[in-house]
C-alpha cells in the first residue's frame, strides 16, 4: 500500500517529527511504500543541517536524514514555509542574497502542490500535527 506522510511540528516544540519517524520505519518494515514525505509549517525545521540537540536527546534531524537517504525517499520541504522560517538551500540563498544555507542533503524544496499531489497519489495520507 502507498503512504504519504505530512509533518507539521519542529523537533524542539512538538513530538511530530519523532512520531512520524517511528511510523515511517514501521511502514517500511511491513513492506509498504512511502511515496512522499512532506514537511510543512514548523515541520520544515526537521530539515535544518545546523541544529545540535543536547547529548541526552536523540538527534532527530540526523536520524530523519539517514532514514530518507537509506530508503531513497521523496522528501519535500515546503519552500514558502521554509523561507519564512530560515531553512534554505544554496539556490534560494543565492536568489535572496542570504548569507548562508542550511538545508540537509536528501531534501528538496518545493511547493505546496507536492502535498496535494502526495495525498492524491497515496492510498493513505497520515498527518503528524504540531
Amino acid at each position: 500500500m502507498k503512504f504519504a506522510l505530512a509533518v507539521y511540528g519542529a523537533p524542539a516544540n512538538s513530538q511530530a517529527p519523532q512520531s512520524a519517524l517511528h511510523f515511517a520505519r514501521a511502514v517500511v518494515a511491513q513492506g509498504h511504500e512511502i511515496v512522499r514525505l512532506f514537511f510543512y509549517q514548523d515541520g520544515v525545521n526537521t530539515a535544518t543541517a545546523i541544529a545540535q540537540p543536547p547529548q541526552d536527546e536523540p538527534d532527530l534531524p540526523n536520524e530523519w536524514q539517514v532514514f530518507i537517504q537509506e530508503h531513497e525517499l521523496d522528501a519535500v520541504v515546503c519552500i514558502a514555509a521554509a523561507l519564512r522560517r530560515g531553512v534554505v538551500d544554496q539556490a534560494e540563498a543565492e536568489r535572496y542574497q542570504l548569507s548562508n544555507h542550511n538545508l540537509r542533503a536528501g531534501y528538496e524544496l518545493s511547493g505546496l502542490g507536492q502535498l496535494l499531489d502526495g495525498a492524491l497519489m497515496a492510498d493513505r495520507l497520515i498527518t503528524f500535527g504540531a
Binding site: A26, A29, R124, F128
Partner: protein, 93 residues
C-alpha cells in the same frame, strides 16, 4: 467507509474528533492525547459504543499514564496495520 482518527492532545483536538467520528470508526490516542485517559470529566466516554479506542504504548509509558483495562494498547506496527485496515486517516492536533 471507516476512518481512523488520531488525537495528539486533549482539549480541542479531542472535542473536534468526537464531533467527526462515525459509526464503526476507530480513535487512537498518541502523544499528549494519552492524557485524555486521566481527565476527570472524560471526553472519551462520549465515544459511541461501536467505535474502538486505542492508545499508543510508548506515549502512554513516557507520560506515566496508567491504562484502564478496556483500552487496546498498541505499538507503531499496529498503528500502521490500523491505517491499512481503515479507508482514511484523520489527524486531530
Amino acid at each position: 467507509m471507516k476512518t481512523l482518527h488520531t488525537v495528539n492532545k486533549s482539549g480541542q483536538p479531542m472535542a473536534l474528533c468526537l464531533r467527526a467520528v462515525a459509526t464503526g470508526d476507530s480513535v487512537l490516542l498518541i502523544e499528549d492525547g494519552v492524557y485524555e485517559l486521566l481527565s476527570s470529566g472524560k471526553k472519551i466516554e462520549a465515544l459511541p459504543d461501536d467505535c474502538s479506542l486505542y492508545v499508543l504504548d510508548v506515549d502512554a509509558r513516557a507520560r506515566g499514564v496508567s491504562l484502564p483495562e478496556h483500552i487496546k494498547v498498541i505499538g507503531y506496527d499496529d498503528f500502521v496495520a490500523l491505517a491499512v485496515d481503515h479507508d482514511n486517516v484523520l489527524s486531530w492536533f
